[in-house]
Symmetry: C2
Subunit: 124 residues, 2 copies
DNA sequence: TGTATATATGTTCACTCGTTCATATGTTAT
DNA sequence: ATAACATATGAACGAGTGAACATATATACA
């Protein structure tokens, strides 16, 4: 159990040392990985996905989204907070209401590209 | 609290009924939303993202990934199982070892596009 | 000032999920 | 057959999180 190479790090034998070393250089920095996974965590919830799709179709207030998705105002507000913190949506106040809209077009593109992925999977 | 429109569904007043109705038609089906969120859940973990980046750089066996990420073989194997179930990676047996690689290029594109999103956010 | 409305937030609960430990499966070599 | 190795899997523990309830803030209007 101890005949491993010098690049050991966790008690596991490295089978293809050179390849592992070259791949290690190509991995993105930890901070970037964290940001990425956080973005995907935000997208990894059905409610938030529906909200994003809805906002891509039209600017909406919290109450409208609640009605649209048949969910409580509180639940929607909580999710919008997360989406806002993740800079996926932006808010605009108009009197008593606050209207939400996508903060940029990247999310929409990511969603569309992901749908493509699912489609092609289903067809194979 | 009861003067809502006929399109009520959860006890919330619908402010902009027409808009809500038009947006409702544009929402993807529930099944598709579930698939999407499941895909993003798979991407919403730093370990899995690193694995995907690594596999995009080179075909690797479990042991190599373990060494690369300084994590136990069991942990990597579990994550690979999820990624395989989600059809994000595929496996190829060669003797005692099993080599993993991306199942298609969509994931790579999604990852790259998402990095772009993060980059532009950081620059603003 | 009051009340009503629209949204935000704090707390709690239940559940999901990533990790670890121990064990099982499958392959190669002896 | 047995032993060694690479990987898979089952069980359990702990952290994270979505939703619901109650409450707080903010705006509009009387």
């Amino acid at each position: 159990m101890n005949e491993k190479t010098e690049s050991e790090c966790c008690g596991v034998n490295v089978i293809h040392e050179e390849i592992v070393r070259s791949v290690a250089c190509k991995l993105p920095e930890e901070a970037k990985v964290e940001e990425l996974s956080h973005l995907f965590k935000m997208l990894g919830d059905p409610t938030r996905i529906k909200i994003l799709f809805a906002l891509n179709a039209a600017e909406l207030c919290v109450c409208d989204i609640s009605a649209l998705l048949s969910m409580s105002q509180s639940a929607i507000s909580h999710q919008l907070r997360f989406l806002k913190q993740a800079r996926l949506v932006k808010a605009r106040r108009e009197g008593k209401m606050i209207f939400y809209s996508p903060s940029d077009t990247h999310v929409k593109e990511i969603l569309e590209q992901s749908i493509t992925h699912i489609f092609e999977d289903a067809e194979e």
